[in-house]
Symmetry: D2
Subunit: 370 residues, 4 copies
């Protein structure tokens, strides 16, 4: 249970860190959608471990293989399955974690839930599972761009106590990718890098915040009352390992304002309504209104650290754990493509749902019905 | 679409502010669960408009009628339908909103999505819809209490810039309900009350934060990877009108910490593992581990205010709106039972899901399988 | 669980025979769909008990009340809830069935599943539950007619051993409704009537077969591999109480043929492909191809009969039951609108699903992609 | 859409006939369930093409690879992915079908729905897709056997006009597997074999009926009103390619009987209620009551035949097709493991669903509540 996402565009994922492979089936793609392996591989490479000095040194090519659902370069409308083989598995690194629970990791939780677990590399709770999300997300991004010119962009806004200063409206993909931590503020980027390396040096880890910004989203998507667009986004983001919070638009800061300040006045541009500011974060009443969708996601510091911690073994004896193995001292840089993927999957699904019903009948004539 | 919540315990809701009634069907209740109308009515009364000077003065008894699914005082296991008739509808108050969009409300969004809308009292986007949630939530609360002794408690933590100072571990329902704003800190409560009345006096509104705390949750519930418990909670909370953010455990503040500080060390109590502190917010790897579930939800200031605002009419002509009608200057006090209800529905559903598979087979013997 | 039908157009039903009411919520209707109460009431009247001498004499007006989701005569796109109050409940008739299980009825099954049951009038297993289906089905019929000119027609093809002889292509609604048993062959209709009255006179009951024929169905609907159109229809039909079988097109008889005889040759008419005969029953590969959808549904004889039968009481003591109460000696005439409703709901849902993805991208150019 | 089956035990399948691979993800398996590759391979071998002279001569080893979800020989409770590589693909055989629609096949339907299709070997509409069903079904069979001693058995009851005569209660797996057509009546088996070879010799094909019998099913499973057990079975069976009908218990023949004959009297055996006969087919009110589940599924003759047929090309020009390629002249023998698999998946899912809610609360005391 729990490994299927979406209603029209349905993603089903599988895979453990040290099993043969990770992958997914994505069902519900519209037939004719161009499927370009390079699009997928590019996002996988952004997620890949070992991409630079700030990440875990596990070496994985993470090469994608498409198994079905594509013909003549396009989605056929049938399920598209994708696979990445696991290659660089050093299970030996995890032997001690077979018996010791890592504090604030999923180890204890999995044992409580399932009775036992594949402890090798964190098994299913490993961030390696996100490969499937990123691969599927690349297709969702393409779909959104084709139908509405939508761009899904994420970047790192803070690491530990270092905050970026950027104008969200001018951030470019190039500026993001030019930074090892995926922060488009070069000064902050350097300081974040230093914070991460300092933490690693201390056998420790740091957290951070990822900013999500989606321009030109399809209008009118999101399904009140339970499947509001921000609700689906919140769920998708909180399903990413290590996340602790989600804000849209003004977020928690907005809760301290008055309505007269917070409300976004309406005006007209090119004959269309637009928000003269965007504390709504692009969503009103659970529905996209055309303004950029703007959200923030909090990531806690990586749970697996080299410093000694008080914990238990699986027989509930007290113990001390100093984790070995190759771990990211900070996950946010690699989380950027995962955030983008989840956002794209949510929006593409909501877009297709809206398409199911939208524009079928004209509005009633109020004169006539009264 | 979008009005069905849950997988085992499935809630389907209906109703507009000024239609004949609001209500719901809740399917998937275990047979034999005691159904006590007074439990339901009590939570509805906490949500009711007109309950005190801080809320809208719309007068509604909000009396619940159960239409099915109960026999001999217990759930039969078949769908339980509930109904509340709308009685105090002054559609005249809304005549001007028929043509003018309230900034940051759902008016424009509904027109963009559906082509037209029932504008009377906000129609489906009215908070009146939450009656169905609260009624169903009362049953979910009872279910959780019966099976695990779980208590679901929420309170107001801040209003505008007034923050409560309380020890979450000692907050009682009595202390919460003794306050008009449902804030268990008496001093803060007074200050919040003043802030709300001041805003109303100014033709304005204020936002706030609701704290959620669930003690003795069932252990091992939540379904990775997409239906993690915090992900389902985040979605449920962000599906409540006027919400802008969700945090669990350390939340955004946790993103600024180091792992050695953030990780929750494990120890043993009464033979069971427990967290010596709870930055996890009761959830690890998407699964409850027994510690209290602890979350915060941000509410923006009410969108409908009496002060004049720049907006558009439905033909996209610029206009100025000064809303009449009876509106809450702050929603958080009435949101408390809604937050509790949504949390209870999410946990009860996750509990039943876990029950479907849990404890069916013993763990394999590692010796044998190697 | 199990009381929600559909994926886009989602029907959620509730109600027991002797509870306060039966009804439903239908979510996912396209906004702007005309909602005409008379359409709904007309089908309810065709389903109603006591409509003539062949049915149970329970008197129910079965008057529909719409509670939400309609404004200015049209669906708003939000959930539409409907209600029928139960009025003529003689629970006394069922006192003996409180303790004795009716053979081949749901009594024992409900006790095995739920531990107890609302025994009054069969509770949830009463055919009274189908009111919700019929009411929702009337809206689905309208939707299909508006978008594709689709007509959903059902009639009685056999009762006990009496078979109708009709040309399916010329059967009209008028001919069906002119017959008390809803059989458009007047001679067979008389014989069926006699068979039913004979059975009732004997304290017995009879079964029969209902034919379903849908002309001008939307093309290209149905979702392989699991949600093929015939699979969804089969499920919907077998969800009607008392059904024992479903056939589409050639059905069981087709299993005795050779491919050269069974295959439906293709030709062109008005520039469109058509089947020169229709053993496919309008569906190929799980997808509608434009030919009429043609199916048959088998109904067993009513389980509740006046003749004495060997059975058990709820303590598993052997007993003899001769049921009192007002029961239909044959259900097929009243089943006709239920079959139509279920078929319409399935097709409308499949139509909306197809609309979500269909026609979004052009087919790839084979030259280019090779 | 449409490629996900089940609610708790969720199967997601992928794969085309001539793509790289076919396979599936099965999510929702209880942790600790023994996963034995040989169990899976055995059923795949029964489904395999080229297993004897009666089937297509396509040579495929159909060797299963498990990619995730298993540790120490048991299901971990996380998604279990499986893969079979396609090896013997002779796309040349299908060149003519690229442009010509096979009558009564899925070719035209897929083009109508998706705008284009992977024509090689029937693409997704190939029976090769059923590999995923059979592999997953083997796990569901094991689950049912472990929890309730359930046995799922299917066999061929008729081919063309040849009917088997067997006592369903004494049919054994050995007797079924001893027959090339999987008919446990040796005389009928020979006659069926002859009928199939005769049809192939004539460039033709034949249909048949498969009987399904499930002994010792879990009691109390099935979810009224829409997800009744027979409804789910009907859907699952009609989702198998080439099926045209489904009957449970007395089926269509039962529609010709009277209630006094059709009803199954109740008696007691070993302190438990049992049906003294089984026209119910093991299901009452949509719920299993412990008696064997007994059903029949009609398969039409294979659509692809060597004899010339009138058809169209994809530009809607009239044409004549005489199909080349390696096709089964009759599908029923290979359909037997597919029917078993689908039945097992439906029952296992229903069992887990029932487990979610069943036995949680005692029945109310009628004395007290009155």
């Amino acid at each position: 249970m729990g490994n299927v996402l979406g209603r029209i565009l349905r993603l089903s994922t599988f895979g453990e860190s040290h099993g043969p492979a990770v992958g997914c089936i994505i069902d519900g793609l519209p037939s004719g959608l161009p499927v370009v392996v390079a699009d997928i591989q590019r996002d996988l490479d952004r997620r890949r471990p070992g991409q630079n000095k700030l990440t875990t040194q596990r070496k994985e090519a993470d090469e994608i293989e498409i198994l079905s659902g594509v013909f003549q370069g396009c989605a056929t409308g049938t399920p598209l399955a994708m696979l990445v083989r696991n290659t660089d598995q050093r299970s030996g690194d995890y032997t001690e974690m077979e018996k010791l629970y890592r504090p604030s990791h999923a180890d204890l939780a999995y044992d409580l839930k399932y009775g036992f677990r594949d402890h090798r590399g964190g098994g299913r709770s490993s961030v390696r599972e996100s490969i499937a999300r990123v691969a599927a997300g690349a297709l969702a991004k393409r779909l959104l761009f084709e139908v509405a010119g939508t761009r899904v962009l994420a970047w790192v806004e803070s690491v530990e106590t270092v905050d970026a200063r950027v104008d969200p409206e001018t951030v470019t993909e190039e500026a993001i990718e030019a930074s090892l931590v995926r922060c488009p503020d070069p000064d902050a980027s350097k300081a974040m890098e230093a914070a991460i390396l300092r933490a690693r040096g201390d056998g420790d880890s740091v957290g951070g915040v990822v900013r999500l910004r989606i321009t030109q989203p399809p209008v009118g998507i999101g399904e009140p009352v339970f499947d509001r667009l921000e609700a689906e986004l919140a769920k998708a983001m909180l399903s990413i390992p290590a996340t602790k919070g989600f804000e849209i638009g003004s977020g928690f800061a907005g809760s301290r304002l008055r309505g007269s300040v917070h409300n976004d006045p309406l005006a007209v541009r090119d004959g269309q309504p637009f928000l003269t500011k965007n504390d709504s974060g692009g969503v009103q009443g659970g529905i996209s209104v055309g303004a950029p969708i703007d959200a923030r996601i909090a990531f806690k510091p990586t749970a697996t650290i080299a410093s000694p911690q008080n914990t238990l073994d699986q027989d509930y004896n007290e113990a001390v754990l100093a984790a070995r193995g190759r771990h990211d001292p900070c996950v946010v840089a690699r989380a950027v493509p995962i955030v983008e993927a989840m956002a794209a999957l949510v929006l593409a699904d909501a877009y297709l749902l809206q398409r199911a019903r939208g524009g079928l009948f004209p509005a009633p004539d109020p004169e006539e019905s009264s």
